[in-house]
């Protein structure tokens, strides 16, 4: 009887983990582990390279997702607006190119060139960085605040509250978060959710 109960519990635990292969990742306030990923120019980039920045707007993004396309100009604008103020954009593509061929390294490099990206567009080949952060969608933003040599999560979620129409946006979550950090204030909204494309995980 006891064994049956243990088995039942184990099965239930398995079902829970099986249904949720992606870990929960970082929460707001957590210090993130540094990473080293290849940029579209072939050079390696890590958070340690941003030792003089006030923080980083880290965005899990991709070439192919219609939401990423809808937000592309807004991502470029975020970098233009905040890089000079100490919060540059760093974009990471974690999509498995076997599942999503339009997200190959070559396609990423082409996209960065076409759109004249002035920020790194990194490939997360092993998907370990996306998993460590708990990124699920594209685009999925993590605003990181630098404290000494550490980067702490200050905001997780969407860029704003209207994907289809930038002009109808009335809550610019990322801008509000970065503005608050720049002013030394608390971030008003630290976590949001939005409809988006799931990251294309490797078939295991």
């Amino acid at each position: 009887m006891k064994i049956a109960r243990i088995l039942l519990f184990a099965t239930a635990a398995f079902l829970v983990t099986a249904a949720k292969p992606v870990g929960t990742g970082y929460g707001v306030g957590d210090t993130v582990a540094d990473f080293k990923l290849k940029n579209v120019d072939g050079k390696m980039v890590s958070l340690a390279d941003y030792g003089t920045a006030k923080g980083v707007i880290l965005i899990f993004d991709c070439n192919t997702c219609p939401y990423s396309k809808a937000y592309n100009e807004r991502i470029i604008s975020l970098d233009q607006k905040y890089k000079a103020q100490g919060f540059p954009v760093v974009a990471v593509n974690a999509n498995d190119p076997d599942v999503s061929p339009g997200d190959s390294f070559e396609a990423m490099a082409k996209m960065a060139k076409q759109k004249n990206y002035q920020f790194p567009y990194l490939v997360d080949e092993t998907q370990k960085v996306a998993k460590a952060f708990g990124a699920t969608n594209t685009p999925h933003v993590f605003v990181l605040k630098r404290e000494g040599r550490n980067f702490k999560v200050a905001y997780i979620g969407a860029i704003d509250n209207n994907a289809k129409n930038a002009e109808a946006v009335d809550k610019k979550y990322v801008e509000e978060a970065v503005d608050a950090l720049l002013a030394g204030k608390d971030v008003p909204t630290t976590k949001t959710k939005a409809i988006g494309c799931g990251i294309k995980w490797k078939n295991v």
Partner: protein, 159 residues
């Protein structure tokens, strides 16, 4: 003007007669619907026509629906309007693929205000699947594409 309308109806009516209507609803209606007491196990899939993995997994939901098992209800909730205002693409898709499961189209711009009410584990990524058994009160949520056999396992898990 009338002539144009007449022509439009002439062309569209036969298509409309065979395809389902796919009502457009707000998030409140959707959540009320998901919380309404029912004897059936509800299999609810969140999808969009522009979402490749969603389209790829739809046949599994259609298969489950078309088996016509008593006690199982399949609903396909389209999120197309979150990105594009026009529902025509959904109507065309439903007609073209001869979708038999019930299709609902959600029109609600500020997703952050209601995603947690569907399931706390849902980040908003598509596809996503929720299986509800109102009798046992159990809910199972999957934030990834489902594969052959997954729906059976989820249904068993809420029994």
């Amino acid at each position: 003007m009338m002539k144009k309308l007449f022509l439009y109806l002439l062309v569209c009516l036969p298509a409309l007669a065979t395809a389902q209507s796919a009502p457009i609803i707000d998030s409140k209606t959707l959540i009320e619907r998901l919380n309404a007491k029912s004897d059936q196990i509800e299999v609810v899939n969140f999808w969009a026509t522009w979402c490749g993995p969603c389209v790829a997994e739809l046949p599994l939901f259609e298969k489950l629906n078309n088996e016509g098992r008593s006690g199982i209800k399949v609903t396909l909730v389209s999120m197309d309007l979150d990105l594009v205002d026009d529902p025509q693409k959904v109507y065309k898709f439903v007609a073209l693929k001869k979708i038999k499961s019930e299709v609902l189209i959600v029109d609600e711009p500020d997703a952050n205000s209601w995603i947690d009410d569907i399931h706390s584990e849902w980040s908003g990524s598509l596809p996503a699947t929720l299986v509800i058994n109102h009798k046992t009160g159990k809910r199972k949520f999957v934030a990834n594409p489902v594969r052959e056999g997954d729906l059976e396992r989820l249904i068993d898990a809420v029994k």
